[in-house]
Amino acid sequence: MAILDDLQLSRREVMATGAAVGVAAAPGMASAAPAEQPTLMKVSFTVNGQRQTLELDTRTTLLDALREHLKLTGSKKGCDHGQCGACTVIVDGRRINSCLSLAVMHEGDEVTTIEGLGGPEKLHPLQAAFVKHDGYQCGYCTPGQICSAKAVLEEIRAGVPSHVTADLTAKVEFSQAELRERMSGNICRCGAYSNIVEAVAEVAGAKA
């Protein structure tokens, strides 16, 4: 068939996988030979102030270590590819996409998740502001938005510039533009952006 010739693919070699892109999935993409057992490794880190020691398949992401092993499901899996930001957690003071990081890379690290910011009875100021300004709808991106916002405010305070910072030598000031730029890795398909900006601006002490 013409299209197959175009792509120089052999029909017999096509392998179907859930994540295959087109029919370009090629033999040999599966690295593990059938009998090969998973490599387990011990890792210790602190989550929300609590020391945790886990023995994990080395392929386990930090996100799955949190969600599946520690049962901290506040961090969400929206894409598992670093494209949506729902899995944002704070590691040693910096926000990361926890789906793009293997758990065993975090030996000795300090991890803060949404559960560590506050609970329903004692909301963190950002959590309370999100409720007040309706900065969420379905709620699935919300923990990532809040963790990201917390780190954004600290980045601005620390003087870390962004793409929209006009003067790289001056002190970075909080602004809507700074916030929107820095939060753009956190997708909200419900489209609560306008309200999220107002919530975060209120906590930052600025008018949205």
Binding site: A19, V21, E115, A208
Partner: protein, 732 residues
């Protein structure tokens, strides 16, 4: 309870709780990460194994063989189910293609196997070892080339005609005849489709993410060939749906099959790059619009035709629907045609029909106004109709489109809009304003609820209604609080469980009005039961401040439950008010854009929506529905497009990096104004929907603003800079 005469004064009209912008009652759970979504039910069931889906690597044809040997031998694997192992499966009533394919393949990434293993990593790795050989069949993937072979769909009134369109259009002094195109769109909700399945002998429990619990339970039973009463669906929190979770999808069926085969509960989420081709999408449309007017701008003839495609047995995108009702004109026609395409299944996405239909119609209206030398608002106002144009004896129950347009014009500063395109500059930006009408019908659906006065005085509401981010929890609590005369914190709302009374569910923007009307009916019954227990006349008793009062008597509500909880259950169903009156929701969208004079980069600077949609039950959550829909409409205008690989037959940009949706930096502050309105024809709540109204027309308002900024008219969405660059105004 049956609603067949217009509502008069009822307890909701007190508006002590209903109509107030209260915070969502589920807010603290959602903002702290404590709300459990489908994949996260560690609390519900232990010892869960992991499922991973394998998808077809061809768009159409047959699997000639599947080799499972390496996958079966992989560490941790507990079971693998393909169509061969699954035995006979039926197609659900609401599905177009089979959820587990094989040997016949109907679309790319149709599921062909589920691998169950001890861990997620093991299941994923083993899924990569499933080897399938295929025999491809020739497929049709291009709507443009399939258009001429499109046929008239059997159902849904594909054609409409009134007066003599052809003659009137031919004779009209001013005419427009243009073609428009909208691409395939993805729901791309943040929470992937996910389910946990657990069998207890022949009974199945499914924790899933589904907008329509009763439809879902029915289709799970049908697909698996088990009695409906053996299926329980639970979906208390849903990470977005937008129509993509109206129907049972592969996650639920594969989890159930995997759990049966493994003898263990199984959880399964569709991987993000799999969702775009495995699940449903909003089909692309090709549209033709013809409008003929007299010299003064009065519409004499209006015609709208639309072509879309779907798998065999699927349905069309009904993009012409609004054109039958939105503007006056004595000669009218619409036509809907459907081509067979072998792309993934097309189906409902937020405001199906109107969303792409208005993206075309409201640009055409802008073009027509320009031809006439009229302001586009004046042109719309001139052609308003207060009756169904095809049936003039049938009035709209409420129609305040003109007021939406006028109010918005005033608030937005419309008078500052440059009459000639390409004239307004702000530094490097060409600035433009655009307007479009928003229109979406108000549907009412039968909806039931159970309410219980607990001995503590708390009122518990149970209904299988879902909250997909819409605010159902909160407005249902507000309704029960108003009806029973208790504060909001004394209402406990339990949703999304198929063991609860069947509700309207979340779809077609019918959820808020219909589900609260069901709660109203149940509360009326509970009021009777409570008054009876207290020896008071239910017709006259007043429920307020946690007490039941009549004349000099005032008794605490909970006294009625002294000997045990008092329960009532009822539903609201509807008579023919939707036939005698056209019930619709209206709005006007205003957008200001800046287009970079050198690069044609497009930025939205301001957005305003003015809505007239009956009583607004909670202005805070309703406003969020509207701004969220405006964001989705902005995405449709500027970036969203599933790109069809026409050789292979799949959507090439099938993840959140390739399928671009608006992010923070794309969206400015948004304003929403609700006109103060009640619609006694809709229900005792006097409310209507807003969740879909908000997306209707936004895309056209953006496109019209871009035209006003640049003088470049783009009729093929999304409007991207490459479509502007060549025709941009010459820089001085």
């Amino acid at each position: 309870m049956k609603f067949d005469t217009p509502a008069t004064t009822n307890p909701i009209d007190q508006l002590k709780v209903v109509g107030k912008p209260v915070d969502r009652i589920d807010g603290p759970m959602k903002t702290t990460g404590r709300a459990p979504y489908a994949y996260e039910r560690h609390d519900a069931i232990p010892d869960i194994a992991y499922g991973y889906v394998v998808g077809a690597a061809i768009a159409k044809g047959r699997i000639t063989s599947i080799d499972l040997s390496r996958a079966k031998a992989a560490p941790g694997v507990l079971a693998i189910v393909t169509a061969a192992e699954a035995g006979k499966l039926a197609k659900g009533d609401f599905n177009t293609a089979m959820l587990l394919g094989g040997p016949e393949i109907q679309h790319y990434h149709q599921a062909i196997a589920v691998v169950v293993a001890e861990t997620f990593e093991q299941a994923r790795a083993a899924a990569g070892l499933v080897k399938a050989d295929y025999e491809r069949a020739k497929g049709t993937f291009d709507l443009v080339s399939a258009k001429d072979g499109a046929t008239k769909p059997k159902d849904g009134g594909p054609d409409s005609a009134f007066g003599d369109f052809d003659a009137a259009f031919a004779a009209a002094p001013v005419k427009l005849d243009e073609h428009y195109a909208t691409p395939d769109h993805a729901h791309a909700m943040m929470e992937p489709h996910a389910s946990i399945a657990a069998w207890k002998s022949d009974k199945l429990s499914l924790w899933t993410s589904n907008q329509m619990i009763a439809w879902g339970a029915g289709d799970v039973a049908k697909t698996l060939g088990i009695p409906r009463e053996n299926v329980r669906l639970m979906s208390p929190f849903i990470g977005g749906g937008f129509g993509g979770k109206l129907f049972v999808r592969a996650d639920a069926i594969l989890a159930a099959l995997g759990a049966k085969a493994a003898g263990r509960p199984v959880k399964l989420a569709l991987p993000r790059p799999f969702m775009f081709n495995n699940t449903t999408h909003r089909p692309a449309t090709l549209q033709r619009i013809r409008i003929g007017t007299d010299q003064a701008g009065k519409i004499l003839a209006i015609g709208h035709e639309s072509w879309s495609g779907d798998l065999p047995g699927g349905g069309p995108e009904t993009a012409v629907q609004q054109t039958r009702l939105l503007y006056a004109g004595e000669n009218r026609m619409t036509k809907t045609r459907l081509a067979v395409l072998d792309l993934p299944e097309g189906n409902a996405m937020r405001a199906p029909g109107e969303a792409p239909g208005l993206m075309a119609l409201e640009v055409a209206v802008d073009e027509m106004a320009e031809k006439l030398g009229m302001d586009p608002i004046d042109f719309r106002v001139l052609n308003d109709t207060q009756v169904d144009p095809e049936k003039p004896s049938r009035p709209f129950s409420q129609r305040r489109l003109n007021e939406c347009l006028r109010t918005g014009a005033d608030k937005f500063g419309w008078s500052r809009r440059a009459k000639t395109p390409g004239q307004a500059r702000d530094g490097r930006w060409l600035v433009g304003m655009g307007v479009a009408a928003a229109f979406r019908n108000n549907l009412v659906m039968k909806s039931a609820a159970r309410v219980r006065l607990e001995t503590s005085g708390v009122v518990t509401v149970e209904t299988d209604m879902t909250d997909i981010g819409t605010g159902s929890y909160t407005i249902i609590a507000q309704t029960a609080a108003e009806m029973m005369g208790v504060p909001l914190h004394r209402v406990n709302v339990r949703l999304g469980d198929s063991s609860f009374p069947v509700s309207a569910g979340s779809g077609g923007q019918w959820g808020a009005n219909s589900s609260t009307a069901g709660v109203y009916a149940a509360c009326m019954k509970l009021r009777e039961a409570v008054a009876g227990k207290l020896g008071l006349d239910p017709a006259k008793a007043e429920f307020a401040d946690g007490r039941v009062k009549l004349n000099n008597q005032s008794l605490p509500l909970e006294k009625a439950a002294a000997s045990g909880p008092v329960t009532a259950e009822d539903f609201m169903e509807y008579g023919d008010l939707t036939r005698t009156h056209q019930q619709s929701t209206f709005g006007a969208h205003f957008v200001e854009v800046g287009v970079d004079a050198w690069t044609a980069e497009i930025r939205i600077r301001r957005m305003l929506a003015v809505c007239a949609a009956g009583r607004i039950l909670n202005p805070k959550s309703a406003r969020s529905q509207v701004i969220g829909a405006m964001v989705m409409g902005a995405g449709a205008a500027l970036m969203e497009e599933l790109v069809v690989d026409k050789r292979i037959g799949f959507f090439a940009n099938h993840d959140l990096a390739g399928y671009e949706v608006p992010v923070h930096a794309d969206i400015p502050h948004q304003d929403v104004i609700f006109l103060d309105e009640t619609d006694p024809m809709s229900s005792p709540m006097k409310a209507k929907g807003v969740g879909e109204l908000g997306i209707c027309g936004v895309g056209a308002a953006v496109a019209n603003a871009i035209y006003n900024a640049t003088g470049v008219r783009v009729r093929e969405y999304p409007v991207t800079l490459d479509k502007l660059l060549e025709k941009m105004p010459v820089l001085a």
